[in-house]
């Protein structure tokens, strides 16, 4: 009997069901705009090594602070470097900082939130009080302090931003777990004898995943701004490697003579942050089970 079924089960690859969330996202114009903006910057950043652009660190004494032209589409900076090239290479720093720091924040924050919400008791007390303390410190101040403490480079900036964003994920996850763990199916999972680890990983986590994903997308935008801020303060990407924040820092000295030096990084930060926010909002709507 089992053998027959065994053979039958061989053909039963899990069928892919139509993705309702994606369908909803497709029909949301602003989310689609966000997706396009974000994809544009991601593609540019990924393609940087193969694009026919100048070396972002190559200086040219004959082309100092030149306005946008056919030779330098976005102009040149104070030591004659091509701004287009620096923008594209700088996108790598910004996006990487945004994504990596959010990964750091979720990898630490979500498990802590799961533990805190699921087990409660003293574990919850300890984790929640530490979270409260971290949340009481303004996000950017905490990131600056951590980055300064760890030492100024891009990796440390990403860690600092990730740690500063982490408490939000702890709190969000914990709250979601508290509501999900009272669901009948969690009780059901206990009734069939599943261990805590299985219940957390397969019954709790997938059901708290949607709000965490939305929060993560929105936090990428915050993290990109934070990275730009840290780089602006000299705590992020170090020269000569380009970053939008440090480009703005230099540009502020030449606002009257060469305003384009500030336009492009400013506009890029604005657009990528807008993109992630629109996308995050769209995801929130698409993943909301309360709307048909």
């Amino acid at each position: 009997m089992t053998d027959v079924l065994d053979n039958e089960a061989n053909d039963l690859l899990p069928a892919r069901s139509g993705n309702r969330a994606w369908k909803k996202l497709k029909h949301n114009r602003s989310a689609l705009l966000g997706l396009i903006l974000v994809s544009f910057f991601i593609v540019a950043a990924l393609a940087a090594p193969i694009l026919p652009i100048a070396d972002p660190a190559a200086t040219s004494w004959s082309a100092i602070r030149k306005a946008p032209s056919a030779a330098h589409w976005l102009g040149t900076d104070e030591i004659g470097r091509d701004i287009l090239s620096r923008m594209i290479w700088g996108a790598r720093a910004s996006l990487m900082a945004g994504v990596v720091s959010v990964i750091v924040a979720t990898i630490i924050g979500v498990p802590l939130g799961l533990l805190s919400g699921y087990f409660g008791g003293w574990i919850d007390q300890v984790i929640s009080r530490i979270t409260d303390a971290l949340l009481a410190t303004p996000f950017l101040i905490l990131a600056i302090a951590l980055a300064a403490f760890l030492g100024p480079n891009l990796t440390n900036a990403m860690i600092a931003i990730g740690l500063s964003a982490m408490p939000k994920f702890v709190r969000l996850t914990r709250g979601q777990v508290l509501s999900v763990k009272t669901e009948d199916y969690v009780e059901g999972a206990r009734a069939v004898g599943l261990a805590d680890f299985s219940i957390i990983s397969r019954y709790i986590l997938p059901n708290v995943f949607a709000p965490v994903l939305v929060q993560a997308t929105l936090t990428v935008a915050t993290a990109i701004i934070a990275e730009a801020s840290l780089s602006f303060l000299g705590l992020g990407q170090q020269p000569p490697d380009p970053s939008w924040g440090s480009m703005l820092n230099v540009a502020k000295n030449f606002l009257t003579q060469a305003p384009w030096m500030a336009w492009w990084p400013g506009a890029a930060i604005f657009l990528v942050v807008l993109g992630f926010n629109l996308l995050g909002d769209g995801l929130r709507d698409a993943l909301d089970p309360r709307e048909g």
Binding site: T2, D6, A9, P14, S17, G188, V192, G193, A195, Y203
Partner: protein, 339 residues
Amino acid sequence: MHSDADSNPSPLLAVDNLTLRFSSASGNVVDGVSFSVSPGETLCIVGESGCGKSVTALSLMGLLPMPPAQITAGSAMFDGKDLLRMPRREMAAIRGNRMAMIFQEPMTSLNPAYRIGDQIAEVVLRHRPVTRKQARARALEMLDRVKIPAAVKRLDDYPHQLSGGMRQRVMIAMALANDPALLIADEPTTALDVTIQAQILQLIRTLQEETGTALIMITHDLGVVAEVGDRVAVMYAGRIVEQGSVDDVFIDPQHPYTLGLMSSIPSLSKREGRLTTIPGMVPTVDTMPPGCRFAPRCPFAGAECKAAVPPLTDLSPGHAAACIRAPLEAEAHFDGAVA
């Protein structure tokens, strides 16, 4: 599996004097409840909401959060071990394996983020030394057995793609996946509409006959008792007030509360006047009367009823009632006494 149980009349589960309270309340929610179930037998626990029947079931499964719940006395012997004093880990190994439970709410009892085939397979994997593929085959076999049409396709459905009746079938498939010796069903049909109720009850009966599982059916519906029960225990305010074979209890109810329950069922054959109801309300845990807990609502109650708790006394072999007036006179009718 049940060979030694078959040759030996000793019950599969023997609950003795189970007493349970919540730290927030002064009285016992379950007060000295004793019953037993043998392999292949169906015991119905019947009573109104709040009488402690679900709490009893949850405490046997070790699913009551403690605190606030607190078991103050009693034992529940299952496979030679006391369920009430079993270490957490050992209990988890029995749940879903030797004993399983079906819940009231099929709509919310399945994980919405998890394909049903995987959910059933996981239960098998948890308790059996099988491969993923074998567990999946077992899940398919179980879906077939609970008569889910096109089971092969359904394996990869998510719960929201199924109706309430189908989900309850999935719950039953999951509960029976490891051939439990004891199945506890906590109002498995209450959330379903009437036609589906009948189908599900029929299914549970058929599967029970096939597998020889002992069944504890918790319900407030005497119709369900008549349909599936071998024996019935009537609970009122945390105590068992009458216990016996379904025939005995239905034909010759001996406790005034059972009598009241019977006469408050609408009858199709005769329509005469108003439906009988039992006057008064179930006492809350904090306001339990001394002596017989039914006395304040009982038309036959006297001073002696409030003095001491009437013990559950055998009236005939296998039929017991906790009333000092028992055996009631055959002609004493509940509605007559009220009027």
